[in-house]
């Protein structure tokens, strides 16, 4: 019944033996699924690449390309590596079963396959696939294709690694006052516009937004994928962000609303990056002194009355660029033993004045 509610799945049966193929297809059709068949591994892979399958039942013993080779190939192809595979085989020996599972098979059913067991296993596999698809969709919505790809390639590898990267924090000035002065619907609409603009600026320079809390966001340049010149990219993203917010301010002024201002802090250096959480629910995040410093710099924009503040490492990466940087001297931050040198990046004059 649950299957009927969720709609039929499209399944592929790969088996070189005609009797096995017919019987498996029949069992699956009786369970309400739509079934296609392949007589060997090579044909099965071709059909899978055309897309549209939710699950494959795979025989091991096949001519041309056997089940083990199919499993290996599925692992090598990004578009196919998440396809659930249930091995149906009468190969003897636990070694084969272990090898199938190690190669990523969801399950191993011994032939002749018991129809009730088959139904249960397929139901569980399809449910898992649904969860995974949902998770992939979430990752896609909240991050760039790079993160989604990295997640898929690493197979949600939760180990951290050291990377050289830049971290950017941003938030809206006086956001609390703004929220209190307007309708909740307006705040949500404003936040959506704000995030759209900030994502554009950050993604446009190769950065990845990995956290959003209220009006604050954290972005990483240089992880999960390495990014040459990540410090300069982060600064250019920040300049675009400030400019986009100014443009939004012009629109808001015309509509009789208060303009918006943001503060951005950037720090560069080594950090620990990785997926935290569980296999079910993971976020890509970074920790370390560099991250803490970027957050402190962002908070300090209020005191310094500047839109963009950066640390010395980020400033050093800008040496060859025409971006104007002003040293603000050392600042004692909470949690830092020694004062830290802070630099303000000059965000350009309003774009209208720059035209022509």
């Amino acid at each position: 019944m649950a299957d009927a509610l969720r709609g039929p799945a499209r399944l592929l049966v790969a088996d070189d033996n005609k009797v096995n193929r017919l019987l498996l297809a029949r069992s699956l059709e009786l369970q309400g699924h739509s079934v296609a068949c392949a007589p060997n591994g090579r044909v099965a892979l071709e059909m899978l690449r055309d897309g549209g399958f939710d699950l494959m039942l795979l025989d091991m013993e096949m001519p041309e390309m056997d089940g083990f080779q199919v499993l290996e190939q599925l692992n090598a192809e990004l578009a196919l590596r998440d396809l659930p595979v249930i091995v149906t085989s009468s190969l003897e020996g636990i070694g084969h079963i272990v090898r199938c599972i190690e190669l990523g098979a969801e399950d191993y059913l011994t032939k002749p396959v018991n129809a009730v067991l088959l139904k249960a296993r397929i139901g569980a596999s399809l449910e898992k696939k649904r969860l995974r698809d949902q998770q992939k969709e979430l990752v896609r919505r909240f991050a760039t294709p790079e993160v989604a790809e990295d997640l898929q390639q690493s197979g949600f590898d939760l180990d951290g690694r050291r990377v050289d990267a830049s971290v950017l924090f941003c938030d809206i000035r006086d956001f609390t006052a703004l929220v209190e002065s307007q309708q909740p619907e307006e705040t949500i609409e404003l936040l959506n516009t704000y995030y759209t603009l900030m994502f554009d600026a950050i993604n446009g320079h190769g950065g990845v937004v990995n956290q959003m809390i209220g009006d604050g966001l954290m972005a990483i340049f240089g992880a999960p994928l390495p990014l040459p010149g990540h410090a300069a990219s982060a600064v250019h993203a920040a300049l675009d962000m400030v400019e986009l917010i100014e443009l939004l301010g012009v629109e808001r002024r015309d509509a009789g609303r208060a303009p918006l201002r943001i503060g951005v802090g950037i720090a560069s250096g080594e950090l620990i990056a990785g997926y935290t959480g569980t296999r079910r629910r993971a976020t890509y995040t970074c920790i370390g002194d560099t991250v803490n410093l970027a957050a402190r710099l962002e908070q300090h924009t209020k005191t310094a009355q500047r839109a963009i503040l950066v640390d010395r490492a980020t400033r050093a990466a800008l040496a060859a660029s025409p971006v104007a940087v002003e040293p603000l001297g050392p600042v004692a931050f909470r949690g830092k033993a020694a004062p830290v040198e802070v630099f303000a990046v000059a965000s350009g004059p309003p774009p209208l004045a720059r035209d022509g």
């Binding site: 070189d16 009797v19 096995n20 017919l22 029949r26 001519p63």
Partner: protein, 113 residues
């Protein structure tokens, strides 16, 4: 091999889960395919092709168990695991062919019966 060629209970279970009419078609398919498997097995033994021998025995074992042909499945399994050595001077293959003939005759009876 002693005992019934086909386990009637297993066959009835197959009919119940897949539908009697469909099982008739499945029996027809098996009766059409099995002689080819036996021929492959013989050819592989003569040509000393261990891989082809094992694969043919494996297919036969798998299909025999589907229909509840337990003695046939057991003999095919011995050949699969024993490989070419198990074929000996050909008498195990002759015994297998005889057991297949017995199973085929019983399946033909059960088919539509």
């Amino acid at each position: 091999m002693s005992g019934p060629a086909i386990d009637d209970v297993a066959f009835a279970e197959l009919q119940a889960s897949a539908g009697a009419e469909f099982v008739d078609e499945l029996v027809d398919t098996f009766l059409a395919e099995a002689p080819r498997m036996l021929a492959e097995l013989r050819a592989a033994a003569e040509g000393a092709n261990a891989e082809a021998f094992r694969r043919a025995a494996h297919s036969l074992k798998s299909n025999a168990s589907t229909f509840g042909a337990a003695p046939l499945a057991a003999m095919a399994r011995e050949l699969e695991l024993g490989g070419l050595a198990a074929a000996g001077q050909g008498s195990p293959l002759a015994a297998l062919a005889a057991e297949y003939a017995r199973a085929a005759a019983r399946l033909a009876e059960l088919r539509g019966g």
